[in-house]
Amino acid sequence: MKLCRTELQQGVALNTVTTDRFKTAFFTVNLFVPLEKETASAYSLLTDVLMRGTESYPTMQALNQKQDTLYSLGLGAFVQKKGEAQVVTFELTAIDDSFAFDGMEILGEGMKLMQELIFRPYTEQGLFKAEYVEQEKKNLCDDIRGRINNKTAYARNRCVEIMCEGEAYAVDHGGDLEDVNALTPASLWEAYEGLLAKARVEMFYVGRKGEAEVASLCKTYLQFAPREAVFPKTTLGALPQESRTVTEQMRISQCKMTLGFRTEYALQEGNFPAMALFNEVFGGSPNSRLFMNVREKQSLCYYCSSFPDGLKGLLMVVSGIEQKNKQKTLDAVLEQLEDLKQGHIDPLELENARRSLRNGYREITDSPAAIASWYLGRISTGRYDSPEEAIAAMEQVSAEDVVTVANSIRLDTVYFLEGGAKE
């Protein structure tokens, strides 16, 4: 499952993983730009407006009908956040050509359609169709307002927003209401041209075809002009001297507790394997400290887990609890951290964490989307270890390294989303 990387043009690369494990082909075009409040909303809206139609398929229905004839070809456009980069992704999923019962070249046809989607959108008077823009603005605003619907995700995002206020990382990659509302067909068009001209382009293919064949398809169907584009940099924030606690209210039955820690561990720093192993011991699995103690021993919650952001160097802990147990749960989590700081790590506990992490890394190779996502998350750091290489690096991490991580991370923000607001 080794990555094969080819520079097609300056600033434009193709990443290929060739394997006969799957019956499907997975292909994405990813445009990397800095995550900035000024442009985040425009790029987010852009992905929705582009999906409304192209020159040859001017309506969503025409586009979807074309996809149907290509054996239910999946085609999507969306934005993602990778550290302090906003990534505009165009994604294609198709059954492998060998499963077409009429000899159709599905991937080639799919790329051709993606080329239209990216470079030849449906326009009126040289701009995006005003009606499409208006409708998608409304839909996007509904989505943005809808962020309150999922309380766990909402609480986690609020915690990050508060913790990273003033940093690029606090910007929501999906956009915000005010900026979306201010967009016009003309300003959106300007953003679109800027994106295509300036973004760093990374394409990924996972499937049965070899690198040469995919590169040749890209040359035929998906030509990007050369560009002087580098990956946006992600800055690790300074470690805080002390932590703050923020409590907000919503009319809900379960209180959500989110903790945000700052760390000096990140993929680009080369020290991430230690964080990965620490996280596995602390709250990354059902055998972790948090699950075994906060849930199983103390029955305080149904879930309590931790996960790192490998680019921004954050570690988050999330749990859903009874409001009256706020302090008790916080204490229980911090007690486990304190215990690890003291160096109380059982050799068996560490071995279990290694096994669990090894299993998790290997499972990535069973899903085309997971493989592409693994490399996409790493590509901007210039290090693109395979899951097997990440396992080898993790095996080198010692108990002392894990204790060092425990001692170096700093609690920045404690965030509670609690019930009890006015009925």
């Binding site: 019956k23 619907n149 305080l300 009874e322 090894r358």
Partner: protein, 432 residues
Amino acid sequence: MSNFQKVCDSTVGEQYFYRVHESGLPIYVIPKKHSATYAMFGTRYGSIDCKFKTANDEEYLELPDGVAHFLEHKMFEDENGVDAFTRYALTGASANAFTSFDRTCYLFSCTEGFDENLEILLDFVSHPYFTKETVQKEQGIIGEEIAMYDDNPGWCVFVNLLKCLYKEHPVRRSIVGTRESIAKITPEMLYRCTDTFYNLRNMVLIVCGDVTPEQVNAVCDKMLTEVAPVVEVERVFPKEPEEINCPYVEGFFEISQPIVEIGFKDIPAEDPDERIRISAANAINMQLLFGKSGEFYNRLYESGLISDKFGGAYAQERTAAFTEVSAYCNEPYALKDAVCAEIDKRREDYFTREEFETAKRVVYANNLFNFDSTDDIANTFMTFWQNGGDYLSYSACLSKIGYEEAWEVLKNTVRTDRCAMSVVYPKEGKDE
């Protein structure tokens, strides 16, 4: 070959091996060259099995809501207080379990030590151990799980829809129960459930990954040394009328926009093959009616009534079946009228033959996408087994569905005179 039966399907290029183990347990092995192997040990026992007795019992047992799910949590603990997760920790497997209306499944996926992991799975699921204390401890954890679902509008709108569609059938009851109902659970109750339903003849083992049937069989030989007794179980389902229970229900949540589910009640067929034929035909019908390339979806999207958060599906199991249309939508009644009008129109004036063939191709390809994931394969196998069918025959069944046949199924199974709507509104206000 320990007399496994081999079944192949050339359209999807897959095969499986099947046999009934000496202990009484049916085994399916689906070889797949992936890194991780996925194993699922399930029982035909879910939240709807709440009134039953065996031939040996005098009295029917009626359970409070949430017992099957509670039992699933408690199976993980053994008589020494050791949790199955602790045993899996020694192998690195990733383990889980879930309970739905008609089944409880225990599963793991692993990239090393498969035999050892399968031993753990077979062992802990066949050795129940419950005491007053361990039951009590779980009530706190599940209480928080219940609270989590109570804050989940998407789950609540679905549960409410079932309460509208069904008057008597236990699908209208909660899978997880309430804090009050789970407080009534006793160890004796749980033992009676395991005695009845955790009988190997009522269970199935499905393994998908880089393993051989012989390997799986050998672990079963080692772990399942006793032959399961033949126990006749009588499950009592109250007589469910063909009509819906009530046409409308609403709820209020801290959300931004109403979430709507519209349901059309159907009566499931007695014969398993017939149920699978209807499912296949309705998969095509749903694509035709509500697919993103269809006239209906695009008309509603362009009018602004719906966004891309819209979908339609036909759900069916042995004792309940319905069509479900869901959307985020500010005008629930307008949506309901449009959906009913479309169904009525298409029942009379069906789609063109060309549209039908394209929809069939889409459903064929979507089924193929499923075969890239060991967990999707195993879970779909489980669903077919529950229904008395065979997943690998689905592709062939699908290809045989004809134009007139699909039309006929639409007329018989998607009926607007059995329609109910469930809406959850933002707490601020609601659409009149």
